[in-house]
């Protein structure tokens, strides 16, 4: 039973040695080691966080660039569409204006033609009247004596007038 009997000397030396070792280790080994480990852990986690942040920033920047590009593209599309619309509009408007102008010109021409025609008709009527008067004057001058002849002549002349 010697094996399970605690020995004073051993406990004595063990207590002293162990206390000294714990003290020395705490001061010269665990202190520096643990603080260095902690320092390194925080620096690593800081670095990782910074990298993550940088990555996020880059991602943000890329997204921003993409967004700007997309906006520019949209802008261009809008501009192009607007230009096309404007062109179409201008063409359409011109066409409409030309139509209207043409119509107006045609109307004017028609009116002018009508007027000219009326004037010509009037003139013709006047001419006929003048000619009739001249004919009547000549007949009167030539054959006022002869009734028969006068009547035939008037008849003939009237026949011509009706024809007209």
């Amino acid at each position: 039973m010697e094996l399970v009997k605690p020995e004073f000397g051993l406990i004595f030396w063990m207590s002293i040695s162990f206390l000294i070792v714990v003290f020395l280790m705490r001061k010269f080994a665990w202190g520096p080691i643990l603080s260095s480990l902690k320092e390194r852990e925080t620096s690593i986690s800081d670095a990782l966080n910074a990298a993550k942040k940088a990555k996020e920033e880059v991602a943000n920047m890329t997204a921003e660039n993409e967004r700007i590009l997309q906006e520019a593209r949209n802008e261009r599309d809008v501009l192009l569409r607007e230009a096309r619309e404007t062109k179409d509009q201008i063409i359409n408007e011109s066409r409409a204006k030309a139509q209207v102008e043409g119509d107006r010109l045609i109307t004017l021409a028609r009116e002018a033609i009508t007027n000219e025609k009326m004037a010509a008709i009037t003139d013709l009527k006047n001419q006929v009247a003048y000619l009739s008067i001249e004919i009547a004057e000549k007949m009167i001058r030539q054959k006022l004596s002869n009734d028969e002849q006068q009547k035939a002549l008037v008849q003939e002349m009237l026949k011509d007038v009706k024809m007209n």
Binding site: L3, P6, G9, V21, R26, L37
Partner: protein
């Protein structure tokens, strides 16, 4: 607050008393066992001499007709403490013997003075590995000396034994290794990636810190890190040293109950001193338990307080000692079979070698495991003592 400090003091005192009573009991047991032998000595001196010389011859292994190989005795000698460091054959390194007795004062001399227990010196002699006082003060043949019981009972033996020397070696080794590593962290390779020894130890330190201590104690763990890390590496290095059979290693340090006891007491003191209100409340007045049950529960809880360090001690001591005994027993098989002829011994040796190697490899695992278990349980006990109340 004061109340709990007082409780802590009370627990420590109770534990100290328990240890004291235990030691006295064991001491009485051993003196009772010796008593009949001593009576025989006083009545018949001749008989005593026969006994001593017979054991002496068995110890020194000199050829003797009656001598039988006693494997049990050899193994016990190997796992027990000694006053000299046995190297090979009859060669051993003598270690200093330091004694204090209230009757004779201090004494300091080399263990070689005893000449392996054959001589007395300065009124002392060796009985087995125990220093006892004799009536004759000069140097003489130990076989004719008479033991002085009264003085022997009052001897404080603080000799540098094999185990004490091993404690110093282990502590020195630890300081050397870890101050070197600390130097690497703070000076030599500051801010650089770890290499070599630093790289080898760092994961273990991190493992002990992050997987053992932090989960067991909680956020207050940093205060207890130096102690628990020191305990872990002390036990581990001491265990490994015990597995190396050549000088200056090979002492069964952690398999010595005194070492295990000291470590367990340290843990007990730390737990008791740092225990908070919540801890004591759970022991003496478990909340939410009826009064009737408390009468049954409180004694069990109080017993548990002392049982925890006790179990801590027994576990470490028994595991390491058992490992040593088994490895040595397998190895002894060669010589036990060798008694039936050298050929038989040689024939058995490959098998026993395989067993011994297997046991040693297993012990390598156990060496780590016991350090792990001791540290983890210490951390768990500390964690239970400093845990905040939350329901």
């Amino acid at each position: 607050m004061l109340k709990y400090k007082r409780l802590a003091l009370l627990s420590i005192l109770t534990f100290a008393m328990f240890t004291l009573i235990y030691s006295i009991n064991v001491a009485q047991d051993s003196s009772h066992n010796q008593l009949p032998q001593n009576e025989a000595v006083s009545s018949d001196g001749q008989h005593h001499e026969d006994v001593v010389s017979a054991t002496d011859h068995a110890e020194s292994g000199e050829g003797h007709a009656e001598e039988k190989l006693n494997a049990g005795k050899i193994i016990m000698e190997h796992v027990a403490d000694a006053h000299g460091w046995h190297l090979w054959g009859h060669t051993e390194i003598p270690l200093p013997i330091i004694l204090y007795s209230s009757d004779r004062g201090m004494a300091l001399f080399s263990s070689s003075r005893f000449e392996h227990g054959h001589k007395t010196y300065g009124g002392y002699m060796l009985q087995g590995q125990k220093v006892v006082a004799v009536n004759e003060m000069g140097e003489m043949d130990a076989h004719h000396a008479t033991i002085n019981e009264a003085v022997t009972a009052n001897i404080f033996d603080i000799s540098i034994t094999k185990n004490v020397a091993s404690i110093f070696i282990c502590c020195g080794l630890m300081l050397l290794i870890f101050t070197n590593i600390a130097g690497a962290y703070t000076r030599k390779r500051k801010g650089l990636a770890p290499t070599g020894l630093q790289n080898a130890m760092e994961p273990i330190i991190m493992f002990v810190r992050d997987d053992l201590i932090k989960p067991s104690i909680g956020h207050k763990y940093e205060k207890y890190l130096p102690y628990l890390l020191t305990v872990f590496f002390f036990i581990w290095i001491a265990n490994l040293m015990g597995l190396i059979p050549v000088f200056p290693f090979g002492a069964n340090l952690t398999g010595s109950i005194s070492i295990a006891l000291t470590l367990a007491v340290f843990t007990f003191v730390i737990v008791t001193v740092n225990a908070n209100k919540n801890y004591w409340e759970h022991i003496f007045m478990m909340p939410g338990v009826p009064k009737g049950v408390l009468i049954l529960l409180t004694p069990i809880e109080i017993l548990g307080v002392f049982l925890r360090p006790f179990v801590l001690m027994i576990r470490l001591f028994a595991n390491i000692t058992a490992g040593h005994i088994i490895a040595l027993a397998f190895f002894s098989l060669i010589f036990i079979f060798g008694q039936n002829g050298t050929g038989v011994g040689l024939a058995v040796s490959p098998l026993t070698l395989v067993f011994t190697v297997f046991m040693t490899v297993l012990e390598l695992l156990v060496a780590f495991l016991q350090a792990y278990v001791f540290t983890m349980l210490s951390a768990v006990y500390i964690g239970a003592a400093v845990e905040e109340h939350h329901h």
